[in-house]
């Protein structure tokens, strides 16, 4: 009995099991937590972080770092709204937002891979530059959406579940597949695990890194669109600090900052843990200042638990 339990806890999916136990605990202890409405609200609240975490996982797995995601999300949202307003076509707006995201990501990738500038500095710089453009484009004020159809992106439902959640689920699926089953995914892990060996094995390291950042940009574009639709405007100040939430969700989910290690299930768990913590704290009406402390303690506990698990496993 205990042996089997041990085996489950220490297995590949141990993090998921721990998460399920924690989830059951929260459901039992926090009133109003396990209601349909709250679950949907919870999921919607993690859409932005979750979407961006998909590609941040690749970025970290390849031993890179992206601080510019928050700015790109805000900028893409602005572009979506402004382009839709200007052209009258929502589709054009969406496409231009994604194109802008991809462009910024591509620039990040080229600078980092080709000019060999530290990823932290590069993305810190683009983070500022892009935020600056967003502010300049809008003169620092939110831009309203002309066509109400735009709101529908976030409000519409399929089988009772809002579209953004579907988008999130689909992206989780796609990137989980890409990570484990495609050449691109394996190359990413290889680059993070041993860049030199990957290069010598003929992996086109530069191109892979550029692709990773470009994808990151595309995904930020999608997140920006959904966010703009959800908050019914393009806001130049949106998503400040997003990068830290996303990176911590990933690390919480077992992605190694030293590169080479990542799983989609881990990242999903990481994203959900962060979302549940926020949600439960608000349901429990914990005062704002104490929320800081609780948030910190949960972060620590989650990683500590996972460490204990894997050290029991690796015995080192």
């Amino acid at each position: 009995m205990t042996d089997q339990l041990k085996k489950i806890l220490l297995g590949e999916q141990g993090l998921v099991v721990i998460f399920l136990v924690a989830f059951a605990l929260v459901s039992a202890l926090v009133p109003n937590f396990l209601t349909d409405r709250n679950m949907l609200g919870l999921l919607q609240s993690v859409v932005t972080v979750g979407i961006v975490a998909c590609t941040m996982m690749f970025c970290l797995a390849a031993r890179d770092f992206d601080l510019s995601v928050g700015s790109i999300v805000a900028f893409a949202g602005m572009v979506a709204v402004m382009a839709s307003n200007a052209t009258g076509s929502i589709l054009l707006g969406l496409l231009s937002a994604i194109a802008c995201g991809a462009f910024v990501g591509f620039i990040n990738g080229v600078v980092i891979a080709k000019f060999r500038i530290n990823a932290l500095i590069t993305t810190l710089a683009t983070m500022q530059i892009v935020r600056g453009f967003a502010l300049i484009a809008s003169d620092g004020r939110a831009v309203g959406i002309n066509s109400p159809d735009f709101y529908q992106l976030a409000l519409s439902k399929l089988l009772g579940i809002p579209t953004p959640i579907w988008v999130l689920a689909v992206l989780f699926g796609i990137f989980g597949f890409v990570l484990n089953r495609t050449v691109f995914g394996k190359n990413t892990l290889a680059i993070g695990g041993n860049p030199e060996a990957s290069r010598l094995a003929g992996v086109n390291v530069d191109r892979t890194r550029i692709w990773i950042f470009t994808l990151q940009g595309v995904v930020c574009g999608i997140a920006g669109i959904l966010l703009a639709s959800r908050i019914t405007s393009g806001q130049p100040n949106a998503a400040v600090g997003l990068e830290l939430s996303v990176i911590s969700a990933c690390v919480l989910g077992g992605v190694s900052l030293a590169g080479g290690r990542a799983t989609m299930s881990g990242v999903i768990v990481g994203v959900l843990i962060m979302g549940i913590a926020e949600n439960a704290m608000n349901l429990l009406n914990i005062p704002a200042f104490y929320q800081y402390i609780v948030r910190g303690v949960i972060l620590l506990l989650a990683v500590l638990l996972d460490n204990l698990r894997s050290s029991a496993l690796g015995r080192r």
């Binding site: 089953r181 050449v183 992996v203 080192r316």
Partner: protein, 503 residues
């Protein structure tokens, strides 16, 4: 008519002329040896062949066509495969994935997982390499990793295969698998460049030989028929070395190191042995015999689960290397890349990291003594470098090994010196000087434990040999009992004793 031609290759690194005007050719279906002292430029030549580095001058041609590679990828595509001196594997990926990296069987970017396993499985089987290809590389021992690295050579249909010191961490059994493989490839008409410091191997395998010295071509033998070993050594080192072991009888004193029933997570069978002052004890075994694990336990590098270690009758309770060093035990570990060199830091710092505590006051360094120590050991061990400030990562493999040895030889107050594969990648000339240093330390009363996979080495320098197999000490032989057969027999897994690792 030579198939692979190097012509007038020249390569300069800041402060170092690694190669100057090197030209030679190799015919098809031949194994060509490449020898030379540490830092002579062998790896550099191989790196240029692989497209990893670019020659400042000169060119390489294959089958009469001049090759110009922009990247290692181009080299593959032209049928050139290189097994580098330093292991180039991705620890988090499986063996199969590592062997397919850069050329996964895939359609539309999606990996055909089954095909990959089939391909790799077939190749490994045909080469006689027995490793579970689903294991992650990080769970393999160094020797096993080296075999995976070697397996890369057969993954592609290559025209030219270069192997840079492939046997430096292999024991004789695995080496035989490699040699069989090389013979097969030769039969298929490939050109094989073989870099090694082991003369036996070179004479057993190679058809022709080039010797480099200080980046220049010192000798080229189109055939090895009339060449003697002493002649090659002289070409390499510039002087004759009659007996590289130079064994001198010593008198053993009292027991210095006593290990009783020591066990740990990776060494389940408790092991006991002792070493006396002035004695050199050898540990021999095949890959995975558990020698390195045992030494790491003695040194406190891994947590022990039972047993005791005493030095000069005093129990060592240290659970970390820090404590062990202060108690007089030092270990020079086998994996120099992971456990030895501190990349990004200078030779001087790499040498002084441990011994400097004898010279500091209130934690402030004594620059003069650090410089003196560094200079002394650079000279003693013949480290080839433009200056002691050179980043250790820029040294050739053998020179890095010398620096790490220097780190431990410069320690003071050592009672027990454990060296794990000390001469891995070190040239013949330097080897005999290192042995000489070991003898002197032993004569001064140190107990020395030498772990080695090279049978001639342990037989050549040790007073006593312990043979390990499957995580336990299987036999103990004193110098008068030394016999190749007996030692190998003890090292081979015994079918009668249940043995997890062997199965």
């Amino acid at each position: 008519m030579s198939f692979l031609d190097f012509s007038q290759i020249t390569k300069t690194y800041p402060g170092v002329k690694a190669l100057s005007d090197v030209s030679f050719g190799v015919v098809k279906g031949a194994v060509h040896g490449l020898m030379g002292e540490n830092g002579a430029g062998k790896s550099t030549l191989i790196k240029i062949l692989s497209g990893d580095q670019h020659a400042d001058e000169g060119e390489i041609s294959i089958d009469g066509k001049v090759q110009a590679y922009a990247s290692t990828r181009d080299a593959f595509d032209n049928g050139v495969i290189v097994i580098h001196q330093e292991l180039q594997l991705v620890p988090e990926l499986t063996v199969a994935e590592n062997l397919s990296l850069g050329r996964f069987p895939a359609s539309a970017g999606i990996i055909a997982g089954r095909r990959m396993l089939e391909d790799v499985g077939a190749k490994l089987k045909s080469a006689g390499i027995d490793i579970d290809m689903r294991r992650k590389v990080k769970t393999l021992s160094i020797g096993e990793r080296q075999m995976v690295e070697i397996a890369k050579a057969i993954m592609l249909d290559a025209r030219v295969i270069a192997l840079d010191e492939p046997t430096s961490s292999l024991s004789s059994r695995e080496s035989e698998i490699l040699f069989a493989l090389i013979d097969r490839l030769r039969g298929e008409g490939k050109v094989i460049i073989y870099v090694s410091h082991r003369l036996d191997e070179v004479f057993r395998l190679c058809d022709s030989l080039t010797v480099l010295r200080d980046g220049k071509l010192a000798a080229h033998h189109a055939s090895l028929k009339d060449v003697t070993r002493d002649q090659v050594v002289a070409e390499m080192v510039g002087r004759e070395i009659s007996d590289i072991w130079g064994f001198r009888p010593r008198k053993a004193g009292d027991v210095r190191l006593k290990v009783e029933a020591l066990s740990g997570a990776k060494l389940r069978t408790p092991a006991s042995f002792e070493a006396r002052a002035g004695e050199i004890v050898g540990f021999f075994g095949l890959i995975g015999a558990g020698r390195s694990e045992l030494m790491r336990l003695v040194f406190g590098a891994d947590p022990r689960t039972g047993g005791a270690v005493t030095v000069d009758g005093k129990g060592i309770h240290a659970t970390d290397p820090h404590g062990a060093i202060r108690a007089g035990i030092v270990l020079c570990s086998e994996d120099r890349k992971h456990d030895g060199i501190i990349q990004g830091r200078s030779i001087e710092e790499n040498i002084n990291i441990s011994s400097r505590r004898h010279h500091t006051r209130f934690g402030v360094l004594n620059r003069a003594s650090e410089i003196a120590t560094a200079e002394t050991f650079i000279k003693k061990l013949k480290v080839r470098t433009p200056s002691r400030n050179q980043d250790i990562i820029n040294l050739s493999g053998g020179n890095q090994q010398k620096v790490i040895l220097g780190r431990w030889l410069s320690e003071q107050g050592v009672r027990v010196l454990i060296v794990d594969e000390p001469t891995r990648g070190i040239d013949v000339g330097a080897k005999s000087e290192i042995y000489e240093l070991l003898y002197q330390l032993a004569e001064d009363g140190m107990a020395i434990v030498v772990v080695s996979s090279e049978l001639p080495e342990v037989m050549g320098i040790c007073d006593r040999i312990l043979v390990m197999c499957g995580g336990r000490i299987n036999a103990e032989l004193t110098r008068d009992q030394f016999a190749e057969k007996a030692i190998l027999a003890a090292a081979l897994p015994d079918k009668k004793t249940p043995d997890a690792i062997a199965s």
